[in-house]
């Protein structure tokens, strides 16, 4: 019977907790560990300054990091198994490109198109809504087109094509927009974990949980798909239904993450690979929880670094994820000499 993974999971869970506390304790000002734990268990409503920072700024940010890391990792895993392609990630279905189109339209379209967009206030909520609408519309188009094709690989290509189309529209918009608008758009593209208030986080977490439930429901289908679609069919799997559930799970997870935290690159592609190399298994009953924990850990680490402790600067999280993550993947592949997929 398969190896016992209990200890690996206990270790990963402990690491998640440790990096969670580390993440919360680091920031532009130093906060003693004692205040951190006080703030965790202080329900009275009377906070000291330190506790206030933790409660209203650092805690939501650390939780966002966990949701973003685990969510992107899981949706990357789902896409890689569905498309049986190690290069697939959460964004192959055009989710990011849709979101960036929505955001680009709000930020840059106001000057280019004028009219209705000019009247829109460019607040955070309008960006979140624009990103959600954009990714939803592009994804819907991809889904409608792909419901007409039987081949799963064709969906991959269709998703990439829609990504190219939206990227081209964004380019055209950028060409005509002012330097200021362009800069704002680029800033959105850096990604950000620290912008969420508790009430926004609640909505984020709610959709995330729904996406997670869909992912858990696909575990058996994902394992069956390891044999290939024809074998899966011969085992009684309803390919179309399973494919739809997997795509819905990915859209919910990656879509909300992009809407709330911006287009965070790399995590979705890398975490499943790191997990497979470490656990050396293809069984999704093991992979899914492992990807969840590893995604959360890597995101917490990246965010702690991006924070540049004790300074007032915050580096773009999108750059840090690749800077930290890419060498790890390269190192794992070189060390194990064989790619596990």
């Amino acid at each position: 019977m398969p190896k016992n993974y209990k200890y690996s999971f206990i270790l990963l869970a402990l690491l998640t907790i440790i990096f969670f506390v580390v993440n919360v304790s680091l920031g532009s000002i130093t906060i003693p560990i004692k205040s951190i734990f006080n703030s965790f268990f202080n329900a009275s409503g009377n906070y000291t300054n330190h506790e206030y920072i933790i409660q209203n700024y650092r805690l939501p940010k650390a939780i966002t990091a966990i949701l973003v890391g685990s969510g992107l990792g899981i949706s990357g895993l789902l896409m890689q198994t569905l498309f049986r392609n190690p290069l697939a990630g959460p964004f192959v279905l055009g989710i990011t490109s849709g979101a960036s189109l929505g955001v680009a339209l709000v930020i840059m379209g106001s000057s280019v198109l004028g009219g209705i967009f000019a009247t829109l206030l460019i607040s955070k909520w309008s960006l979140v809504i624009a990103a959600s609408l954009g990714s939803f519309l592009v994804l819907l188009t991809v889904l409608i087109v792909s419901s007409r094709v039987r081949d799963t690989m064709a969906i991959l290509i269709i998703g990439l094509m829609f990504g190219s189309i939206t990227a081209a529209v964004v380019s055209v918009l950028s060409y005509f927009s002012s330097a200021e608008d362009l800069q704002q758009y680029i800033f959105w593209g850096f990604g950000s974990l620290g912008d969420l208030q508790w009430n926004e986080l609640k909505i984020f977490a709610l959709i995330y949980v729904v996406g997670l439930v869909f992912s858990l429901a696909s575990i058996k289908a994902l394992n069956t798909l390891l044999l290939g679609e024809n074998y899966a069919k011969s085992l009684g799997l309803n390919i179309r239904k399973s494919r739809l559930i997997i795509i819905i799970a990915t859209s919910l997870l990656a879509g909300t993450i992009t809407a709330f935290a911006g287009p965070i690159a790399f995590i979705g592609l890398a975490i499943p690979h790191i997990t497979r190399q470490i656990f050396n298994t293809a069984n999704h009953k093991i992979l899914l929880p492992a990807v969840f924990l590893l995604g959360a850990i890597v995101m917490l680490i990246c965010d702690s670094i991006a924070q540049l402790p004790n300074t007032d600067y915050t580096l773009p999280i999108n750059a840090i994820t690749s800077l930290i993550g890419a060498p790890v993947v390269v190192w794992l592949l070189v060390r194990k000499k064989k790619m596990v997929f």
């Binding site: 390891l226 074998y231 009684g236 293809a282």
Partner: protein, 264 residues
């Protein structure tokens, strides 16, 4: 004959196979009447392009029939839910599995998918069936190996074990001997013969190993331009069914040895 009191597992009734497009139907073979009996090993032979794969695809409900019908265990194949069909019919395909990072045991256990719960947990009975399948296919020593470590012959045994674990009355294999050397071709077909006898399952395979099939199968289905016949190898040789299998300019069937010879 003793066949009379054995159950029919699969039966076709004037089956017509081929492809349907929006404009026209292209029939490849029609009036197919074959019957697969419990516990028998049946070979399907014929030249390339004669429609063996189309027939198998129709028998396994991957492709709709143009006419006639296929019934498994007296029930029309179209009346099966896909999950119920998976409990009476398992397949071994020519394609390789997408992930070779599964261990032999894990891959064989995937054969239990139609029976397991929503997350795919194996019960004690499932594990028992999986272990039995591994033993019957002589894979016990390899059971913890990863599939990428196996040879083609070993991998074919694993796929057969997976089909066994699916515990169906009928197993259909599409060219299970391609890519194998002469020894392993004989080994795999001999294994199928043993499994059919021991487990009382019906096993149908398509193959180009006509001489091996003649020696090992209970009945053979011969597909040629003249039509499709099913009979015991002996009777088929008597009737000269193998002689018109291929164009006769290059090879001829030798009735004495039951094998093809190159024309001198």
């Amino acid at each position: 004959m003793s066949k009379k009191n054995k159950n029919t597992i699969l039966k076709t009734n004037n089956l017509n196979i081929g492809y349907k497009s929006k404009k026209a139907e292209t029939s490849i073979a029609s009036n197919i009447n074959i019957e697969l009996i419990e516990g028998e090993l049946i070979g399907l032979v014929g030249a390339n392009g004669i429609g063996k794969s189309t027939l198998l695809r129709t028998l396994t409900n991957v492709q709709p029939a143009l006419g006639g019908d296929v019934s498994i265990l007296l029930k029309n194949i179209n009346d099966y839910q896909s999950i119920d069909l998976a409990k009476v019919l398992s397949l071994v395909l020519t394609e390789s599995v997408s992930s070779k990072n599964l261990s032999v045991l894990e891959l064989v256990a995937l054969g239990r998918q139609p029976y397991t719960n929503w997350v795919g947990n194996l019960t004690a009975k499932d594990i028992e069936v999986v272990n039995a399948a591994v033993e019957k296919t002589n894979l016990t020593d390899l059971k913890n190996k990863k599939c990428y470590e196996l040879s083609d012959g070993q991998l074919q045994k694993v796929m057969i074990a997976r089909a066994l674990a699916q515990d169906t009355a009928l197993i259909i294999l599409d060219e299970p001997t391609t890519h194998l050397d002469m020894y392993h071709k004989a080994y795999v077909l001999k294994l199928l013969q043993k499994l059919a006898k021991e487990t009382n399952k019906t096993i149908l395979f398509s193959s180009h190993e006509i001489d091996l099939a003649i020696q090992l199968c209970d009945t053979l289905i011969v597909m040629s331009k003249d039509g499709i016949v099913q009979d015991t190898p002996k009777n088929l040789i008597k009737q000269g069914s193998f002689s018109n299998l291929f164009p006769e300019d290059l090879i001829v069937f030798d009735k004495e040895t039951g094998a093809f010879r190159v024309k001198k």
